[in-house]
Amino acid sequence: MSRTLRPLLNPVLRHRMLWPVVILAALLLLNLFFTNGFFKVEMKDGHLYGSLIDIVRFGAPLILVSLGMTLVIATCGIDLSVGSIVAISGALACLWISELGDQNSIGGVLTAVALGLGLSVALGAWNGFLVAGIGIQPIIATLILMVAGRGVAQLITDGQIITVNSSPYKLIGGGYWLTLPFGIIIVIAVLALTAFLTRRLALGLLIESVGGNAEASRLAGIRSRGVLMMVYAFCGLCAGIAGLMISSNVSSADGNNAGLWIELDAILAVVIGGTSLAGGRFSLGGTVLGALIIQTLTTTIYSIGVPPETTLLFKALVVTIVCLLQSPAFREKAFRRRRRPAAAASASAEEEAGEERVGVSA
């Protein structure tokens, strides 16, 4: 690298989103070889249509759940119950709709949506209460609902798959609006809302502060209980919306399988996005990127035809690479080893300074 370019490139190379972006780009390029016109986005019956759109559309529930999870993780917590909340919200909404006289009645569907989301928020607040009010460790507190929640979802669906036939409900996860899939619009709206609450208003600062140092935050006069309650309730809401989306997409509620393991994917997305599990700083953009990487990876597996037996291995491999590249400790180690002998051999101090900068940034 030439000396004049380095100062210009350094901020880019050092940016913490660099590696996730590179990986996402690599995955997308890989698809190009296997799917003709992978990058093509076209209009079909007034709808945008194409593989890229699909990735966002299918990734929408994961993005939503991950957004909520980001805030929870930023407070140094974790929410394992999101998968169950996904199942419950979809189940309740579908149950309500299936018992409507006219499944296409807008009012009825809106009530169903309100019921599903209301219960999700309540369940999230319950998590928040256990964590902030009673002081149970987040992982345990939410584990309770993770396990019990599946049971609740099954109770609602009576162990069956509830199928509904409602075009207004179908809109949420399967419909289009203004040429875009409705799910994408919801994601954009929720992302905008989250960004507004956390970055335009001061919620983000308080969350990062509570996650960064809870005792110091308390002594600074932050009502951390309130912050935690709100964050868990919000996470519940996000999971609830995702649940509606998933069940609406296939017009049915499956208490057993809806949102199964989504909490793990969400946690992964958050971590790939650069938010530390130890709490503190969070990045919404990073999380969206992380969720997109996971979804693109899934799509890639389908389109390049990785045999199902090796799917998990393939996924694990890619995720490991991303996580390693994301870890400053790993980069430091990997490049330090290379640098040491060079530094020892070189006599000029100026030269060594140059070496170091390349090492850190490469």
Partner: protein, 339 residues
């Protein structure tokens, strides 16, 4: 430092939680957890009635609920006293239930094993107590086949074969290549492996049949839809979809419709299970053929139980009475489907 330890702890707990919640797949769809527990009851055979102890896996899916109902109803019809218990997906619960049946000196024990292995001890106890055992729906991996009298359940390989046979029949007049995509069940589960193998066995006889893509859809509608969309993107001409269960097929139908094609016409669809939603789609012409995987093995079970108690010889493997449905048959059968 402290932080790091805490984060590590969280992760290990996470893995643990995952392991706890991990369950296996059965006939039809994959499983979740929890459920309601059944009743125990007391006493052995008093009034000459046969007493059967039955330990169910759980109530994890519609298929399973129908299965339970079938067992309970046909016991009543057959005049057999049924002691039913729900293991809630846990082998230990099941072993406990079987031991209690042995103590109560029931006449026959039947159960659907939660997992394949680890049954030898408790089965030996039953054998020593001279209580015959019947396995339903799922097998155990015991070397010693004298530990149970018979295994009653679906033959997943045969289901795959039936699906293949219909396909061969359907395309017998054509010489063009037939492009098939397959939606597999949960990777590694017996129904997924066997339905794939049986299907493959039949269609490999003719080289015009080509499976151009095969992926797992985890037995769920959502996954089925997602995978099918990807298939449709990367493979422009798909002639046939073979889905290992109805639910994935139903998800795929939505994907096909979304891509502007007509399911059942542009793409022929074969699925397995025959649950109500699947049958409805078949009747509506969106699916072309369904191979039944019936949960209604109650009557057969009661039959076998009577024979076993009376000391009659029974075959060690009994296949559930299952059929197949075409679109016309579906229209007829639909009104009186139980599940």
């Amino acid at each position: 430092m402290l932080r790091r330890i805490r984060a590590l702890k969280s992760i290990s707990a996470l893995v643990l939680a995952g392991a706890v919640a991990f369950t296996m797949a059965g006939c039809g769809s994959s499983d979740g957890s929890a459920g309601s527990s059944g009743s125990g009851g007391s006493g052995g055979s008093s009034d000459g009635k046969i007493v059967m102890g039955f330990s169910q896996v759980g109530a994890e899916s519609g298929w399973r609920t129908a299965n339970t109902k079938s067992v309970q109803e046909s016991a009543q019809e057959a005049g057999i006293e049924l002691k039913f218990s729900d293991a809630q997906q846990k082998q230990e619960n099941q072993i406990k239930a079987i031991r209690s049946y042995i103590q109560q000196k029931v006449d026959v024990i039947a159960f659907s094993p939660v997992v394949e292995s680890g049954w030898d001890t408790v089965l030996k106890e039953a054998k020593n107590a001279n209580i015959p055992v019947i396995l339903t729906d799922r097998a155990v991996d015991s070397q010693d086949t004298s530990l149970y009298k018979t295994f009653l359940g679906s033959d997943f390989v045969e289901e795959g074969r039936k699906a293949g046979q219909w396909l061969v029949e359907e395309y017998k007049d054509s010489t063009d290549p037939v492009n098939i995509v397959q939606l597999e069940g949960t990777t590694g589960s017996a129904p997924a492996n066997d339905r794939k193998a049986g299907f493959q066995e039949v269609i490999s006889a003719d080289s015009k049949f080509k499976i151009i893509a095969s992926q797992t859809g985890d037995f769920t509608r959502a996954k089925g839809k997602e995978v099918m969309e990807a298939f449709l993107k990367s493979n422009p001409d798909i002639d046939v979809l073979y889905a290992h269960n109805d639910d994935m097929g139903l998800g795929a139908i939505e994907a096909i419709e979304g891509a502007g094609k007509v399911p059942g016409k542009d793409i022929k669809i074969i699925t397995v299970d025959a649950v109500r939603d699947g049958m409805q789609a078949l009747a509506d012409g969106k699916i072309n053929y369904i191979v039944e995987c019936s949960p209604l093995l109650g009557p057969q079970l009661m039959d076998l139980a009577k024979k076993v108690v009376n000391g009659e010889q029974v075959p060690t493997r009994v296949v559930t009475e299952e059929t197949t449905f075409t679109q016309e048959q579906a229209k007829e059968a639909l009104p009186n489907r139980k599940y």
